[in-house]
């Protein structure tokens, strides 16, 4: 297959830049910014802190890195590398007893002394709002552990011997992710109490009042939003990680073509706000763009030419948090849409999208609408890919 004019395969970066593989002269590189430090899972599978404006190539459960793009989130649970300040019922707790998922000896132990054993701590929240609660847990000598928000009774019980759910209540978007070395990150969404402006983060030994039961814990997190984002380390106060901004790949000459194909291979998160990938000229009015709008369960494709909606197609039943591959081609008086190895749509068009100067993971004015997800690859071709090529490229 002939090379694309622009190919982003996340592998090289520096502060403020995500390098594209093609073109080799740097024109296809993306600007990157984030006003705070943040964490990623590195090649060794460990959680690692990276500095402000450094792109995050994330290796969680993958042999190849992806570009992690997340919204601003605040972790209200603190400290989350120690539980010394937490209350405990019917047990004792010890910090710094085991290697945690960040590779440091800062995992904590909880051991029951008979009765219902739980650690807990309260934090201020908004009422009647969607939050995600998460924690890293590792089996001690007892399997079943409960993560709970106390004021709503929202909870999940997990079996740490195999990383499976045992039971839950008032919990949605439940996830149990394997972080290696016996650690699981357990998370779920809940709606905060309608009148109480406090959340109670708590972790229980479930189903046994015997003395001597143990588990390990690290990295508690409660964040406003509908999915768990990367670990936000807290010590003495709540911490906000700012959003990732990746934009401005390519230039006018690169996108000044007579036909084109645009390819996006991403894992889109269950978004809380608009989440776009856009070919744009950055101008607010008139609207000129090709935009992929990743919603909760669909991808809305829109091409606007000089303010006119020239092409639109919706891919429905898209599953968030799953990798998907989309290819759009414009040429030969046709727009074609391929998704996960299937030609989904062919529409007659006149002309092709043109006049753009950047590919951005943002809205068309490059001021917001930041894409929320993992970017595995993005390509731009100055030709229409054949059906065989398109299906091969988009097959999962």
């Amino acid at each position: 297959m002939e090379n694309p004019k622009l190919a982003l395969i996340p592998s090289g970066y520096k502060s403020g830049t995500v390098y594209s593989i093609l073109p080799t002269d740097g024109v296809g590189d993306f600007d990157f910014s984030r006003g705070s430090i943040a964490t990623r899972v590195n090649k060794d599978g460990l959680i690692e802190t990276v500095n402000n404006n450094v792109p995050r190539l994330d290796w969680l459960n993958s042999d190849c890195p992806s570009l992690l793009l997340e919204p601003q989130r605040t972790n209200i649970v603190y400290p989350n590398t120690s539980i010394s300040a937490y209350s405990i019922n019917n047990g004792f707790k010890s910090d710094n007893v085991i290697t945690s998922p960040d590779g440091e000896n800062n995992g904590s132990l909880v051991q029951s002394t008979g009765g219902t054993c739980a650690i807990y701590r309260s934090f201020g929240t908004a009422t009647n709002t969607t939050y995600n609660i998460s924690v890293f847990l590792k089996k001690g000598n007892y399997n079943n552990i409960r993560l709970q928000e106390g004021f709503t009774g929202s909870r999940i019980v997990v079996d740490l011997s195999n990383g499976t759910e045992v039971a839950s209540n008032n919990a949605t978007n439940k996830k149990i992710e394997d972080y290696g070395n016996g650690w699981y990150r357990v998370s779920f969404n809940y709606t905060s109490h309608p009148s109480t402006t406090i959340a109670q983060y708590s972790v229980y030994i479930e189903g046994s009042t015997a003395s001597g039961n143990t588990f390990y814990t690290f990295g508690g997190q409660i964040e406003q939003g509908s999915y768990a984002t990367s670990h936000i380390k807290t010590i003495s106060n709540t911490i906000t990680r700012q959003r990732d901004f990746s934009l401005n790949g390519g230039n006018f000459d690169l996108f000044n073509v007579s036909e084109l194909s645009l390819f996006a291979d991403v894992t889109n998160f269950k978004r809380d706000a608009t989440s776009y990938i856009t070919l744009t000229n950055g101008v607010n009015n008139p609207i000129n763009m090709v935009r992929l709008d990743y919603t909760q369960n669909s991808i809305l494709i829109r091409w606007y030419n000089n303010g006119t909606n020239t092409f639109g197609y919706n891919i429905n039943s898209v599953i968030t948090n799953q990798r998907n591959k989309l290819l759009l081609s414009f040429g030969n008086n046709q727009a074609k849409t391929y998704f996960n190895g299937i030609l989904k749509n062919t529409t007659s068009i006149s002309g092709i999208p043109n006049g753009f100067d950047s590919l951005s993971f943002t809205n068309r004015t490059e001021t917001g609408g930041t894409f929320q997800g993992k970017v595995h690859e993005a390509r731009f071709y100055d030709r229409v890919l054949t059906e065989d090529e398109a299906i091969e490229l988009t097959t999962i």
Binding site: G35, S36, I37, A38, T49, N51, N52, Q72, T74, S87, N89, N90, G115, T116, A118, Y120, R121, S122, F123, G124, T125, A126, G150, T197, I198, Q200, S202, I232, K233, S236, N237, T238, I239, T240, R241, Q242, R243, T274, I287, N363, T367, G368, G369
Partner: protein, 111 residues
């Protein structure tokens, strides 16, 4: 871009949201509201000043003490002073406070 940090205590959530709205929002052609500024704003709300106490069934023994003010932290991008109407509600702390932007010191960057 130069950044400055500010911490604010508003009388209510409504007042805080009005102040934030005044910083600039627009509505795109599909009806989505988006900020036209590039400041990072965190709504901390009525923060916990003192932890509550609970028995082994997690029944409340002593209620936590909450601030009666609505707290907001902001990273101001490219501003040298508080925007109009914000200075009155700013607080000047001698510590980082109960909230921090990851890796960014309030004390070293405060407005």
């Amino acid at each position: 871009m130069e950044i400055k940090l500010g911490k604010y205590e508003f009388k209510s959530e409504e007042q805080a949201l009005n102040k934030i709205q005044d910083l600039g929002v627009d509505i795109d052609f599909e009806g989505n509201e988006y900020p036209t500024h590039k400041h990072a704003i965190v709504l901390l709300g009525h923060i916990v000043l003192e932890q509550g106490e609970y028995d082994e069934d997690l029944e409340e023994i002593k209620a936590p003490v909450l601030s009666d003010k609505y707290h907001v932290d902001v990273v101001w991008n490219g501003l040298e002073s508080h925007p109009y109407g914000w200075k009155t509600y700013s607080v000047d702390l001698e510590s980082e406070g109960m909230h921090q932007f990851a890796g960014v010191s309030y004390l070293e960057n405060k407005m």
